[in-house]
């Protein structure tokens, strides 16, 4: 592909237009030698539409393991024999302490995450709301929740508790989804997202790349997210955990990952695009490049079932790239 095509599409976006599906698909044909250029324009788009702030978010795993669902990548599924920790809902006090630790590491936002399909008839739901209120009382963090499937009334209750954003991934494209999960449908995910939106919550919705999906699957996901008008897009890169159905998948190369982030930025110019789990093992020391390829958020500290790296290294990396870790991201 001629590199001038990159410039044409980038300028079209910088003027405030949206590229269409076919145009996005042509960007997947950019050759390796032009990926830095594609990334540079994604960086320019990121700067024009979102500024130089990087939204730093921490996770608290409030309940772990024993999930009834069969998501092939997930070490918390009962279908997989892994070393992932298993515990019931932690106490409100433990959750608050974990949130305070994330705040000390520099997070501006925390997401409270529970394993399991969702909250329907879940006796923990009320306790989770109490824990969320506890975090809000004890820290200055913005609090998000990631609790799986929600009913419309649960979404309303979360909004009433003061939560501003709900995290619920689509994981992958609709087309590829049956290869990733068979115990619940893509539509079910969409209806939770819809319930959260109706309740006035913002959405943090993304997925995982490197599970064997095609380029058009990745583009499908980005367009689905654009259509849903989600605010924040966490992009994980498969960390093939031993014992999961995807343990033998070879993850994508760093250049392939960078290209994906850049194309997501072309499709979603004004959103928070957030590198999430798997960045350390798959990008190794190419994470700095990612910060100049359209990313403007990070998940810092540890992930749900595996360790991240020292948050201080992420702050240094963001600053070295000329960006600003911020507690006042406009989103």
């Amino acid at each position: 592909m001629d590199y001038r095509r990159i410039i044409t599409l980038a300028e079209y976006i910088l003027q405030g237009n949206q590229i269409n599906y076919e145009e996005a698909l042509t960007l997947t044909q950019v050759g390796n030698e032009d990926i830095p250029l594609l990334a540079a324009f994604a960086n320019k788009i990121r700067q024009q539409f979102t500024g130089n702030g990087v939204d730093m978010c921490g996770l608290v795993s409030a309940r772990s393991g024993m999930c009834s669902e069969d998501c092939k990548f997930c070490s918390q599924s009962v279908y997989h024999a892994t070393d992932a920790p298993i515990y019931g809902l932690r106490t409100a006090e433990e959750i608050t302490i974990a949130a305070q630790q994330a705040e000390q590491q520099g997070a501006s936002r925390i997401s409270l995450v529970t394993s399991g399909k969702g909250m329907d008839h879940d006796p923990d739901f009320q306790k989770i709301i109490t824990a969320i209120e506890g975090i809000m009382a004890e820290t200055d963090l913005k609090v998000c929740a990631n609790l799986g499937t929600l009913t419309p009334s649960q979404a309303q209750m979360l909004a009433a508790s003061g939560i501003k954003r709900y995290a619920h991934n689509l994981e992958t494209s609709k087309n590829f989804y049956p290869s990733v999960c068979t115990t619940h449908s893509y539509e079910e995910r969409l209806s939770t997202i819809q319930a959260a939106k109706t309740a006035g919550l913002e959405l943090c919705t993304g997925g995982i790349i490197g599970m064997g999906e095609s380029w058009s699957d990745r583009i499908d996901l980005a367009f689905a997210l654009r259509e849903l008008d989600v605010t924040s897009i966490p992009i994980n890169i498969l960390n093939p955990i031993k014992g999961t159905a995807f343990e033998d998948i070879t993850p994508p190369t760093p250049l392939d990952i960078i290209k994906t982030f850049a194309i997501f930025r072309f499709i979603l110019p004004d959103k928070i695009i957030r590198p999430a789990g798997g960045r350390e093992i798959n990008l190794r020391d190419m994470q700095g490049q990612l910060m100049l390829s359209g990313a403007n958020g990070l998940i810092i500290g540890n992930y749900l079932t595996f360790s991240g790296r020292d948050a201080a290294a992420d702050f240094q990396m963001v600053q070295d790239a000329g960006l600003v870790p911020t507690n006042t991201c406009k989103n």
Partner: protein, 329 residues
Amino acid sequence: MTNYDLIFSLGKKVLHGDPITFEEAVALTQIEEADIPILLGVANKVREKFTGSYVDTCQILNARSGNCSEDCKFCAQSAHHDVKVDAYPLMKENDIIKAAQKAEADQAYRFCVVTAGCGMEGDADFAKIATAIKRIGSETSLQRCCSLGTLQEDHVAALKEAGITRYHHNLETSESYFKEICTTHTYQERIDTIKRVKAADLEVCSGGIIGMGETWRQRIELAFTLKELDVDSIPINVLNPVKGTALEHQEKLNPMEILQTFAIYRMILPTKILRYAGGRERNLGELVPLGFLSGINGMLIGDYLTTQGRGADKDIQTVSDLGLKLLEN
């Protein structure tokens, strides 16, 4: 005309095989910060077109350390500085061979024997060094280089005879800034050594150090001098201000400015080897790999003369992550 129009118009010119002028290069130093990655991307394209995907790696050996008579302000080995640095006389031949074998095991393509001191005039070690270099040739398949300071014609001939293919001798900085960096010998003396080496049909590895307080124009001046001398390989160090040296308090360059420098050098010197050298770890941190996407196509691996590198393994992993390949003997 937006800033990046300038980047692309100069990029097209270079990709077309035409040189850019001094003032055009200076214009590239004045682009907006948000456009620096675009410049890097264009430099990467230029690198790919003119030098391909191969990375030229070398490992250096500090074969004689410290006690140097010269006063280069950045240097931990100068007798003018009070630095805690290991000073030792010329290593034994067997130890030099062992170091070369280690370089080969680290997948270095080249091996460079470096000695402290102004040069080889009347230096009793010279014959020993030449012998060691000859022996490296029979015991490894490494390309052999050396960096011994000022040379006269007879030294050059003897080194060529010993089997070196390339001689290293930095210009360090621009002619106009050199007197701020060194007062014990002249810039012309350095240029004369380079010319003697070129005249003997040997390749030259010559670059310098950025971040010593020079201006952008001086940095560009160095690139054009190197271009005029038609040197083959250009090591670019980024100052690592060692405690006890005259430059110990020099302010750090910002990482994006360092990458911008590489990219502009690539635009000025499209076909040459631009080589990562000392100071990259300290100054670029996690942005080190971006150098390879900004025009760099060579690197020192392993440790430097008086400072540690980040480990050859890590650099080799980075090269493979970027879809680049190591030059092999």
